[in-house]
């Protein structure tokens, strides 16, 4: 039986996780190309928020949301390279929630939170591989201001 992963001093405190829940990003995450092991952490009281914590660097953490909580009719399109990075069978059409999870990384904007839905993080539930999509046609920003709903944004 694999020993649990343990990482002290993370943003979430000392973190212990089952190795089976660890994600492998073969290419890292853009901006953090050497960060290949990540752990998704969901705190029931804080749903739908997902923490994506590096399993190697205690200070590296992302806040994320399932993309459909931002854009209900979001459709993911994977390229051959994406299938390869996720080690998914290219002959299947992966179903979000069943085969893959699509997470939007949250970042700051001038007056709230912003996310780029052209670059979601995709997680294969079959292979536990993770991969961030490359926006081929520019960013697709959504913005959440204080007390308002998510809306499309140019910046």
């Amino acid at each position: 039986m694999a020993s649990p992963g343990i990482l002290p001093g993370t943003c979430l405190g000392d973190l212990e996780w089952d190795r089976g829940s660890e994600l492998w990003f073969a290419q890292g995450i853009p901006g953090f190309e050497n960060e290949r092991r990540m752990v998704p952490v969901e705190i029931p009281a804080q749903r739908p928020l997902v923490y994506l914590q590096s399993a190697e660097t205690p200070g590296l953490c992302f806040l994320a949301l399932p993309v459909t909580t931002i854009q209900a009719d979001f459709e993911v399109r994977l390229t051959a390279d994406d299938f390869q990075a996720l080690e998914l069978d290219p002959s299947i059409d992966p179903v979000p929630g069943l085969d893959i999870l699509c997470l939007a990384l949250l970042g700051p904007s001038e007056s709230g939170i912003r996310t780029n839905l052209a670059a979601p993080v995709i997680i294969s539930l079959h292979t536990m591989r993770g991969h961030q999509l490359t926006p081929m046609a520019g960013p697709l920003y959504w913005h959440l201001g204080e007390g308002r709903a998510w809306e499309r944004s140019c910046l």
Partner: protein, 93 residues
Amino acid sequence: MFVVRRRVGERILIADDIEIEIVEISKTRVKLGVRAPREVPVMRAETVPVAAENRAASAWASSRIAAAPAQLMKLLQNLQDNSAQTVAYVPDQ
């Protein structure tokens, strides 16, 4: 700009330790393989702005979680309110 014609399997070298190999050529695309030292970032050009966004997102997330839990709770409340509205919405039949 260095311009050169290459066939599948042929390589280009940059300095002593970066190697680009032509893996596959199709009608509209070329598949490249890049070998480079671990400390040399290799990425698609389109990924550069995403890398900047990710660095900002990570710094922002870490500061929200570690230094400003009250702000995180406010954010969470906002997200949950927003999510609840989305999930609870059922159109009239």
